[in-house]
Symmetry: C2
Subunit: 269 residues, 2 copies
């Protein structure tokens, strides 16, 4: 039996999932979070399905040992490739980014024309496309893999002329398509919002699945009487590579101050 | 006791080490190579020392089980962070990229001014700097971390205007320094040679440590009477992530045709 006082577990391939955690903390300020970043094995975006499924199961088992009441897969690639395997294997409620992101995009678009930006893994999986078509079969979808975006964010080249050229190159196919909604299908991409918005113009709405994810978590915890009412709480952060690198990147690139990150490696399955 | 007919083992974080293998195959066409790319855990360039040492030991043990006569650490970051630990732990001859690269750079420069391009891990380790100063204490060295280069190569943006801007940005500090030699301290960088040469001009020499590495391997095998005289031989390729991804990237980005890549994961230590 789960209890309201238990923490919510979040895993991501690295630091990017902090953009998801931020939305969760805003909507659910009384919840305690345990975050695991698999920095020793990142990125997930261009690796194969078998590898990502294995990593995701290991990460989930690791967080479940910490007695969590709910698991969030903050990494879009892991959500796209491994969520159904996780849900088949574990009875704990597990929420990914794909369904909430697809729902948000459908509720946002008026032209029924949506672009999905993501890693190669996310785009090639077809998970977002499928989730959108299932709900809104009349949609017209343009998937775009943007593999260089993550590096640009981690280098903090958010306004560099080279970044602008790269954004322009990836988003070139959107011109003249009447796409009015762009789904930011990778945790790093929200940090490129100003540049993407500049390239696409103000009439295009950018959708961050993290908002939908946080809403879904709040709803699920409410339904199951698992909402916490804690005041004093400490979130916990773990990373599989050098914890100090995690802490520094979290602060510099993601504006997320963390007192302490602990080293931790999930056991191999 | 080793024998000439045994294979040479090579490991790299991924596909990039094929640029090293190519130089080895040119200089030592009668040798048989067993290549392992740790594609499930790449890249190594921005991960911590403890993680890279652990991965390197696992990779070395994996290849040693295949009865190799010599091990090459083709990854510059692993060479910089883990070579001495490997050499302390194993009696097998192990050759990395740092010493051969430093020697090549010293033999090339006339102005005694050398730039080292590499990943953050390689640059921050100071390994190339130390190896150069040890041999040529009067040298003036400029180390430059170029973390975006690997992604550009894997995306095959070798001549894209964005790539030119990125190369210009990283190499900006070299202007007016009388640097005449640039050490390409990462397996991917030789593929950016035309662009780097264009930005720096023809008077600057680009040094690929792979050449020095191949020469050192040839010398060592000769000294120990371990040179092979095989004619018919099949090189072997293993990858820890999806073998097909390895094969496709090897061909598309590195112009290296491989008949078969096998999946293989080193055991955790």
């Amino acid at each position: 039996m789960s209890a309201p006082s238990q923490a919510i577990g979040i895993f991501d391939s690295g630091v990017g999932g902090l953009t998801v955690m931020r939305q969760l903390m805003r909507l659910l300020p009384q919840e305690r979070f345990i975050y695991f970043g698999d920095t020793a094995r990142l990125p997930y975006g261009n690796k194969g399905r078998d590898t990502i499924v294995r990593y995701s199961i290991e990460n989930a088992l690791y967080l479940m040992q910490k007695n969590i009441k709910l698991l969030i897969v903050a990494c879009n690639t892991a959500s796209a490739l491994a969520l159904s395997e996780l849900q088949e294997r574990f009875t704990l409620p597990i929420i990914g980014m794909i369904e909430p992101g697809a729902e948000k995009a459908i509720n946002t678009t008026r032209s029924q024309r949506i672009a999905i930006l993501g890693t190669k893994g996310t785009i090639q999986s077809g998970a977002y496309q499928e989730a959108i078509y299932k709900r809104a079969p009349q949609s017209w979808i343009m998937p775009v893999a943007c593999p260089l975006f993550v590096s640009l964010v981690e280098e903090q080249w958010l306004h560099h002329p080279a970044s602008r050229l790269i954004v322009q190159e990836y988003l070139q196919p959107l011109h003249g398509t009447q796409i009015d909604t762009v789904l930011l299908g990778c945790t790093h991409y929200p940090l490129l919002t100003p540049l993407i918005q500049e390239v696409l113009g103000d009439k295009v709405a950018l959708v961050d699945p993290a908002l939908g994810c946080a809403e879904r978590v709040a709803r699920l915890l409410g339904e199951r009487d698992l909402l916490s009412s804690m005041r004093d709480k400490d979130h916990e952060y773990y990373a599989s590579d050098d914890p100090e690198k995690f802490r520094v990147l979290a602060r510099s690139a993601f504006d997320h101050s963390i007192h302490q990150v602990l080293y931790s490696a999930p056991s191999p399955i």
